[in-house]
Subunit: 343 residues, 4 copies
C-alpha cells in the first residue's frame, strides 16, 4: 500500500479536526508543501554494475545499530490516534528494528514505552518547559529507563500560526482533560547556553531538533550536542522557512563531521532517504506516515509503514549500486546543470 | 481571520465594480500576481536558541516610533469603502500604533485625519497635479496639521491600463460628483529637479513613492528625499514591471544608507515583512488588506488587520530568533543554491 | 477591447478549420506558447521622474518614418479573412501610420495594395519559389510599385507539421481554386549566396525573415541584407525552436549594428514592444492580432488593433520614463538575479 | 496520426492491466514524466539558408547502415500485444530500414526474428540471468543467427516499484504459463568485470543498456563495450532518477568518442531526436510508441510509427539546416541564458 492511500484511509477514520491537526501546517502551508517537493525536485544519478546481491540497509544512530536509516519521529497526540499509541508504535519499532523517538509532550507514558522489549534504540524527545523542573525531571528519568538519547526540540519559540486548527477551534487537551496553551508551556528563553547546561546534566547524548542553518548547528555542537535534526516541525511552525532538504547541506557543512545530522520533513519514499544520505544525513525521521499507520492498524500499521520504507530503501540502494549506506555519496545527486557536458 | 477570508467578506459586501477597482491591476495582472508570489518564492533560514521571551516589533520611520514595521499605505476611495473611511483608518492606526499615510487624492479630509488624537506618526501622500498650486497648497498645510512627512507618488506618469475598470466602465467620481481623468490631473513633467524643488519648500521630510531602480532611488536621495518607497502601485500601473520584492535589493544598494527604504505590494503575512526587512527595508506598507478591513468592519476591521500583522510579525521574528527589528539581517534569507554545500 | 476578446470574437465568426489554420502552430504548439510566455517572463525596471508629457512613439524602419515600432506582419489568407483583406489592411496601416508588410503568397494583389494612398512605408514579402522566375518577377515589380523593401522568408525549408490542419484536412486553396503543396512551391536550395544574388538584383533593400541565430544573422548581413526579422513563423514551423524573445539578443549581437533587427511572435502588449526594443530590436511585427481585427471589423478592426498597440506603447514608454524610442535601453530589463544586491 | 492518438487507440483495445504495465512507471512516475518533459524543455536554434533539398536521415549503428537514427527498443510482452509481435515488429523494422533490438525476455523467438529477411541490422537484448548459462547460451546463438550486437541491460538490479502493477496484481506470465519473479531471474551480482567477461566471449559487439553516468559509461567502455544506451528503463525502475536527456551529456563526455552512445526514454517527436543527436547521441531508441503501433495495427502499425518518426526527423533536420546527421551539432541547442547577449 502506498502512503497516499494509507493517509486517505486514516483520514476516513479520523474526525476531521484531528486529521487537520496532524496533516496541516502553518499559515499558507507553503513550507509544508515545499518539504515534500524539495526531495522530489532532486534527481538521482544511479550507478550500475555493482554486485548488489545483498544490500545492508542498517546503520547506526549515535552508535546504536538500526535496521535502516529511517527512524520514527516524535509526535504529539499518538494516544489519540490509538488508545495505546506510543506503546504500539514502540512495539512496531522494535519489530522492525527502527529507532523510535518517543515524544513526551501530552502523552505521559515514557516508562511504558521504555518497557517495551527489544534491542532497537529509543530516544526521548522533550520540550524545555517554562517550568524547567518538568524537563529536568523527565531527562533524569530517561537514562535510567533505557533511552539512548535526549532530543530537545527548539523550533517552538512560538506556536505556529496553524489556520486549519484556528478554523477548527482545535485545542490541546491533556490526558487529564485540561487545555494547555503551548505558548505558555514552553521556555522561550532557551539559548545555546541552556543546551550546554542540559548537555552537562544529561548522562546520555543530547540531540537538538529544529535546526535549519549551519551556524546554528555548529553552535549546538559547540554546546555539546551529539546530533542535530534538520527540521521545520513538518512545516507547522514558520511558514516560509526553507524546506529541510534545502537546509540540509548547509547544516552538514556547519557540523563538519563533529556530530550526526538527521533530517525530517516530507520524506515519503525510499529514494528520498537515499537523497538525504547522499547529502550527508546519518538518518531520517518520518512522522505523519507513522501516525497514519497507527490510525489504520495500530502496531501492524506502523510496522507496515516501516517495512515499506525499508523495502524502498533496499531497492533504491540496489538500483543506485550502493550495498551499504556508507556507499551513498554525493555523486548520486544530480546538480542543476548536470545536463550540460562536464569539463 | 485570514486576509483571504477577509477579502472574500469584503467582496461580498461591495458592488462588483468597486471591488474590481480595488483588487485589480493593469492589463494581464502579471505584476499584481508577481508582487505576492515574489515574497512567497523567498525562503527564510530561521535561527533558533535565542532568548525570544520578549519581542520588540517596534521601529522608527523617519525617527518616529511605530509599534511595528507595518504601515498603512495611501489609498484612493477610502471614503467610498466606508462613510468615514480615512478618519476610521486613522483612528485604527492610532489604536494600533501604526503609521498611516493618508492619501489626499479624491478624499479631501486631511485636516480631519490630522485631528485624530494619538502619538503614532501620520504622513500625507500627494500627487503633483498638473495644476501644481494644488500640491503646494496641500504640502504647506500638512506640516502645520501635524503630518510627519510628505509622500510624493511618482509612478503615475500615465494611468495604468486597467482592463477590469475598462470593462466595468469605472470612473473616478470626486466627492462633488465630478468625474476626473487622472491622466489630465497629474503633472507628467515631474523630474528629479522638481523633487529637489519640493524638498526645499517642504518643512517636513519628503518621501518618494513608486521607485523600482537603484539609480532612480539614488537620484531621489540626491534631490533631498529622506525616504523612498519601492512600489509599482500595487501592480496597477505598468504590467510587466518587476515585483517590488525583486526590486528592493537594488534600491537598497542605490540608496546606500543615506535614506530610508520602504516597500509595498503583495505583503500579506508577517513572514513577508521579515523578508522585506532582511533585504534592507525599514518598514513596509499594506494597502488592500486595510481596505478590506475597512469595508467589513470600519475602524475595528482595520485594527484587526493591523493587529493580525503585528501578531504575525511578532511570531515570525520569534521563530527567526530576532528579538528586535535590527536583528533581522540578510542571513535570514535563503538564496538560490542554498541547498548546496557552502565553501 | 483586449486582443484576447478580439480573438474570441473572430473565432466565433470563422469556420473552425480556418481559425485553427491561423491560430495553430506546429506539432505540440510548444514554441507557439513559448513565444508569448517569453515576453511575459521578462520583467521591466521602469524609470520614474522623467518629463514624459509628450511621448514620441515614432521611429524609422530602413529610414522611413512610422508612427510606432509596431508593424503589420505578412500573412497568408488575408483575402479569406475578409473579401478585400490585403487592401483593407493596407488602408488601416496608412490610417495609423504603420508599416504593412504585404505577403505575396496566395493573394495576388500587390498592385492593389501598392495603390492605397498614404505615406507610411509598405514592404513586400516573398517566398523564393522552386520556380524562381515567379520570385524575380515579383521583386522586379515591387520597387516600381512603391514598396520600400523586399522581405524574403527563409524558415520554410519544409512545411511545418501542423496537427490541427492535418486533423482538419486543411488545404491551401489558391485564388483560382487550385490546391498547392507548399513543400513543392518553395525553393529548398536557398542559401546565403542566393540572398546575395537577390540583394544585387533588388533595387530596394532586402530583409531576411525567419532568423533565430546570431551567426545566421551575420551571414545575412554579409550577403547584403539590410535587415533581419527574428521569427519562427509564429511557432508554425519547427516546434521546439526557441522563442523569438529568447533568440533576439543573440541576433542583435550577431548583426552588431550593421543592419536593422526586427522580431515577431507572441507580441500582444505595448510592454512587450518595449521589451523587444530594450533588447535591441528596431521594431516588431504583429500578425494574428491584425488578422482577428480584419475578421471582426475589416479596415476598422485593423485600425483598432494598431491604435491599441500604439496607445499601449505610448503608455508603457511613459511609465518607463522613455520619451523617445531611442531612450528604451537594456537597463529597462530585469535580468535573472536582479533581486539580489548589486556590487 | 499523432503518437498520443495512437496510444489512446491502443489503450481502448487493451485490457487495462496490460496497458498499465506498458504505460506505467515506478512509484510516483516522476522520472517517467521527466523523461518526456526533459526533451521538451530543451530549445532548438534552427539554422536557415542551407540547401536542404535533399535530407539524408540515414546513419550507422556500430557500422551498419540504418535509414534513420531512430531504432526500436527491446520490449517485454510483445507477444502479448500481438500474437506474432516480435516477428511483426522485425518485419516493420526491415520495411522501414530501422534497427530492431529484439528483447529476449519472456518471448523466446529470437530465431524467428532472425529469420525475417532484410538488410537492416538487428540486435539482441539479454538480461544476465541468475542462471548465467541461459544468457551465455543466448549470446552464443545470436551471432550465428545474424544479430549484429548483444545488448546487456544492467538497470534491473531490482524490479522497479511499479504501483500500477501492484494495484493490478500484474504478474509476469511466461509463454508456458509459469509466473516468474524478475527479482529471482536476474543476476544481481553483475559488475564491470562481468561485462569484460561477456565481451571477451561474444563474437559480436557488446552494448550496455541502462547507464546514467559518465563514470559508469567509461567503465563500460574500458570493459570492452562498443556502445552504451543512456536509459532509465523508461522510468520503470528507479523513480527519482534523472531524465535520460539530462544524463546524456555526462555519458557522452565519459565515453569520449571511444564507443557509440544511444539514448531512450520519452522521445516522441523528430525534434527530440535532433536534440539527442545534437548532444552527442549516435541514435535513439523508442519503445512504447512501437508497442502502441503493434497493438493497433500489427506490422503496419509499427511501420506507421517508424515512418512517422522518419518524416519528423527529416522535417526537423531540414528546418534546422542539417542535410546529414553529422551536421547536427551542439550549436543547435539553446542553453539556459541563451536569451542574453553573448560576448
Amino acid at each position: 500500500m502506498d502512503l497516499s492511500d494509507l493517509e486517505a484511509d486514516a483520514k476516513a477514520k479520523l474526525e476531521a479536526t484531528f486529521y487537520d491537526y496532524i496533516a496541516g501546517g502553518a499559515e499558507d502551508e507553503r513550507t509544508l508543501a515545499d518539504n515534500q517537493d524539495a526531495w522530489d525536485r532532486m534527481r538521482l544519478r544511479p550507478r550500475v554494475l555493482r554486485d548488489v546481491t545483498t544490500i545492508d540497509t542498517s546503520t547506526t544512530m549515535l552508535g546504536a545499530r538500526v535496521s535502516s536509516p529511517v527512524a520514527i519521529a516524535p509526535m504529539a497526540m499518538q494516544h489519540r490516534a490509538s488508545p495505546d499509541g506510543p506503546v504500539a508504535t514502540a512495539r512496531a519499532a522494535q519489530a522492525t528494528g527502527a529507532l523510535f523517538c518517543m515524544g513526551l509532550f501530552g502523552a505521559g507514558s515514557a516508562a511504558q514505552v521504555a518497557a517495551v522489549p527489544g534491542n532497537a534504540p529509543r530516544w526521548l524527545q522533550v520540550y524545555v518547559m517554562a517550568d524547567r523542573a518538568r524537563s529536568v525531571e523527565a531527562i533524569a528519568r530517561s537514562a535510567e529507563q533505557g533511552y539512548g538519547a535526549i532530543v530537545i526540540t527548539v523550533d517552538v519559540a512560538r506556536q505556529g500560526n496553524r489556520r486549519r486548527d484556528a478554523r477548527n477551534r482545535w485545542t490541546f487537551l491533556q490526558s487529564d482533560g485540561q487545555v494547555e496553551d503551548p505558548n505558555e508551556l514552553f521556555d522561550h528563553a532557551l539559548t545555546f547556553d541552556d543546551i550546554a547546561w542540559f548537555a552537562e546534566r544529561t548522562p546520555i547524548p543530547l540531540v537538538v531538533k529544529g535546526v535549519a542553518r549551519g551556524d546554528d548547528a555548529k553552535a549546538c555542537v559547540d554546546a555539546g550536542a551529539a546530533g542535530v535534526v534538520v527540521s521545520n516541525h513538518g512545516g507547522r511552525q514558520l511558514d516560509g522557512a526553507l524546506a529541510t532538504a534545502d537546509a540540509l547541506a548547509d547544516v552538514v557543512a556547519g557540523v563538519d563531521g563533529r556530530a550526526e545530522v538527521y533530517v525530517d520533513g516530507g520524506i515519503r519514499r525510499g529514494q528520498h532517504v537515499v537523497k538525504a544520505l547522499a547529502m550527508g544525513a546519518q538518518a531520517v525521521f518520518v512522522g505523519r506516515p507513522v501516525m497514519w499507520g497507527l490510525v489504520v492498524a495500530d502496531q501492524k500499521g506502523v510496522e507496515g509503514v516501516m517495512r515499506g520504507f525499508q523495502d524502498e530503501v533496499e531497492r533504491a540502494m540496489a538500483l543506485c549500486g550502493a550495498t551499504r549506506v556508507d556507499e551513498i555519496d554525493a555523486s548520486l545527486l544530480a546538480e542543476p546543470g548536470w545536463n550540460r557536458p562536464r569539463g
